[in-house]
């Protein structure tokens, strides 16, 4: 089956993908903190940040539309959190837009990080940077099984569509809910089997 991989552009050759992974991780983290700490009134700094991000996007050779789509999926969450501020404070709109701009810059830089690095190299480097093993394991499982779950959803949705014969009303909502429930149980059972498979190969949870 075809997947949209979360690091689908990681194999593109660009000057960004050739940079050391460690440098990219450290730079992105420092950059994010810097953006958060810079007050919005220093417009010059934000102009500089934007130029840096846009220039990186340009040399990464990743299609512009892709960045746009990814932003659109994440931004609503940011907006949802920040949207109440204008109604509470007098200069609320400034805070709202500063949140939004900061979020866009940080999200873009992390999209660049993930899209110019193969995920397993990213994990290896995080391990070298002494990120706790449990978190790395969680990330690695997420990367490995996202597609499996996506496949399962796709298959179920297809079966549901087939038998609901094009109807879209209350009853299909109900069966979608059932579908999600059974998906949850299936995922839970798979997790059990994976744990068994890990144990079978000498895994000990505390070491």
């Amino acid at each position: 089956m075809h997947h949209s991989f979360s690091d689908q552009f990681a194999n593109l050759d660009s000057s960004l993908s050739r940079l050391s992974v460690k440098f990219k991780i450290v730079f992105c983290s420092v950059f994010a903190i810097l953006i958060v700490l810079t007050p919005i009134r220093i417009k010059f700094a934000f102009l500089l940040y934007s130029i840096l991000v846009i220039w990186s996007m340009f040399i990464s050779r990743i299609p512009w539309l892709f960045f746009f789509k990814r932003l659109l999926t994440i931004l609503p969450f940011v907006a949802l959190v920040a949207v109440s501020v204008p109604f509470i404070q007098d200069d609320g709109w400034i805070i709202f837009f500063s949140c939004l701009i900061k979020a866009i810059l940080i999200i873009l830089s992390f999209i660049l990080l993930v899209q110019t690095t193969r995920f397993n190299r990213l994990l290896n480097e995080l391990r070298n940077l002494k990120v706790p093993g449990l978190i790395i394991m969680l990330l690695s499982f997420m990367y490995r099984y996202l597609f499996v779950v996506e496949d399962e959803i796709l298959r179920r949705k297809r079966a549901l569509d087939l038998r609901s014969a094009g109807r879209r009303d209350f009853r299909t909502i109900k069966s979608t809910a059932n579908m999600l429930g059974s998906l949850f149980i299936h995922t839970y059972e798979r997790a059990e089997r994976i744990y068994l498979a890990m144990c079978a190969r000498g895994y000990k949870s505390n070491g």
Partner: protein
């Protein structure tokens, strides 16, 4: 007489809800042999296999012995090194991002040093003829390749016994043939469970028939598979190749 590597004595297992899956199983596995475990759906094949390396514990008495070791908490690690388990679904067996990381997962857990881990990982990948895929992501592989990587993940731990649950499930004929030929080249003791009776006939010296949690028959593969009455009683069927050859 051949050396006994697994001994199962009076093993019973019931699910927490009281549903009995295995009842009074007595089974010996001998060194170097390939044992088939066949039986209808829900007969308890997988449950039985999960006992071979202590992934499940029979209720009450510990009644499984591997290479003279009684399975208990102290030697669980030792037993799991000796007995390699290949799950039916490669999606469950391959949980690391890349092939190499998956194959080296077991050796790393055994606490071997880096050079030894690398050497055994490469060796295992060579054995399944997939050395060139070491850096690939598991979900990019074909099912046949995933299955062979699954076997490599276990071979890298240098097991004495290999347990395979439904090895040929969902494989296309070419991938299935490749798998059978691969299994033939491995000289270690193997236990294979499944419904692919042609595969069992080709690979196994001995077969046990499991039905409703009990061993219904135990003997030479050809003798058992060639017994139409026995086969029918346990929702099985004599393989076509045997039927055709006996007709001549």
């Amino acid at each position: 007489m051949k050396q006994r590597v697994i001994r199962i004595e009076d093993l019973s297992y019931a699910y927490p809800d009281g549903n009995k899956v295995l009842e009074g199983i007595n089974l010996d596995v001998f060194q170097g042999e390939t044992l088939g475990v066949i039986g209808p759906n829900g007969a308890g094949k997988t449950t039985l296999l999960l006992h071979f390396n202590g992934l499940l514990n029979g209720n009450g008495i510990m009644s499984v012995m591997v290479s003279g070791l009684k399975i208990n908490k102290q030697n669980l690690r030792e037993v799991r090194k000796k007995v390699g388990f290949v799950f039916q679904d490669p999606q469950d067996q391959l949980f690391m991002p890349t092939v190499y990381e998956d194959v080296s997962f077991g050796p790393t857990n055994l606490g071997w040093d880096k050079d030894k881990v690398r050497q055994y990982t490469q060796q295992a990948l060579e054995e399944v003829t997939l050395s060139d895929k070491a850096d690939h992501l598991s979900h990019h592989l074909s099912l046949g390749e995933k299955k062979r990587v699954s076997i490599a993940t276990v071979l890298s731990m240098k097991p004495e016994i290999l347990i395979l649950d439904e090895p040929s499930a969902n494989l296309d004929p070419a991938a299935r043939r490749h798998l059978i030929d691969l299994l033939k080249t491995l000289s270690i003791t193997k236990v294979i469970a499944g419904h692919d009776l042609e595969l069992i006939l080709e690979l196994c010296d001995r077969v046990v028939v499991l039905d409703k949690g009990r061993i219904a028959a135990d003997g030479d593969t050809r003798d058992i598979l060639n017994n139409p009455l026995l086969m029918q009683q346990h929702s099985l069927e004599t393989p076509l190749s045997l039927k055709l050859s006996s007709r001549k």
